[in-house]
């Protein structure tokens, strides 16, 4: 799993490329948290355009980051989600806490 970060105003865009399972979740969790702190990001936007697999371990990663940023009034959004990953998001009720936009620009304009 490859991560790339882009800070736009108070938003941190996190692009996840590859497969998100229990193994890769363990690898990326701390790195994401460090980058959120480093950039002083308020909101985070997960760009899932390059994510080709996710199981329920990914749900934990999203909820964990939501807990972190929501403490300081921040929000979590996802963009470019494919329909498989959308199914897992829906199943677990993640869209109750995570906003969904078609693309990065929309997310940044709306958050």
């Amino acid at each position: 799993m490859r991560l790339s970060f882009e800070s736009i105003n108070k938003n941190l865009v996190i692009k996840l490329d590859g497969e998100l399972d229990h193994h890769t979740a363990e690898e990326i969790r701390d790195e994401i948290d460090r980058e959120i702190d480093h950039y002083g990001a308020k909101n985070i936007i997960f760009d899932l355009s390059g994510m080709n697999f996710m199981d329920s371990s990914g749900i934990g990663v999203v909820i964990g980051r939501y807990k972190k940023v929501s403490k300081l009034g921040g929000e979590v959004a996802v963009v470019n989600i494919n329909h498989r990953i959308e199914r897992i998001f829906k199943m677990s009720g993640l869209f109750n806490i995570v906003k969904r936009f078609d693309n990065k620009k929309q997310a940044i304009d709306s958050l």
Partner: protein, 140 residues
């Protein structure tokens, strides 16, 4: 068609990706759709992850996967000889997790049940867990 395979590997998290790719590769002889194959991959990933983090916890043990193809269906059995599940019914509930501190969502069994046609769990405390799943490929 009838075919069978058995796979055995250490309960290391690196093997989660390996296991789901091997099973998907074996299942592909049934000519499934991409969607059906993704269902199988996701369910196997959940079952193997359960074996690794709940069955064996911090120990390293052996995870066994047996797959049988019969007509248009595949049966996938994931076995660990770890600590077992005390209350299977409770473990299968959506959002139930014994490890919230690890950011586990408790959705593993729900995902397996959603993506597979049958899911059965047999477990004995101290002896291990066996998850049996069946997927029927309708596309053929």
């Amino acid at each position: 068609m009838q075919n069978h395979m058995r796979l055995e590997f250490l309960s290391k998290s690196q093997n989660e990706a390996f296991a789901r790719v091997v099973v998907a590769s074996f299942a592909s002889q049934l000519d499934p759709t991409i969607e059906e194959l993704a269902d199988v991959k996701t369910a196997v990933s959940e079952a193997v992850t359960n074996a690794i983090i709940h069955g064996y916890e911090d120990m390293i043990g052996t995870v066994i996967i047996e797959c049988t193809i019969q007509d248009n269906e595949i049966e996938i059995i994931v076995i660990d000889h770890g600590k077992g599940i005390e209350n299977v019914e409770e473990a299968r509930q959506p959002l139930y997790t014994s490890k919230p501190e690890l950011e586990r969502s408790g959705m593993g069994f729900t995902v397996m049940e959603t993506f597979m046609d049958e899911v059965e769990v047999e477990s004995q405390k101290g002896a291990g867990t066996k998850i049996r799943m069946v997927k029927r490929f309708e596309s053929r």
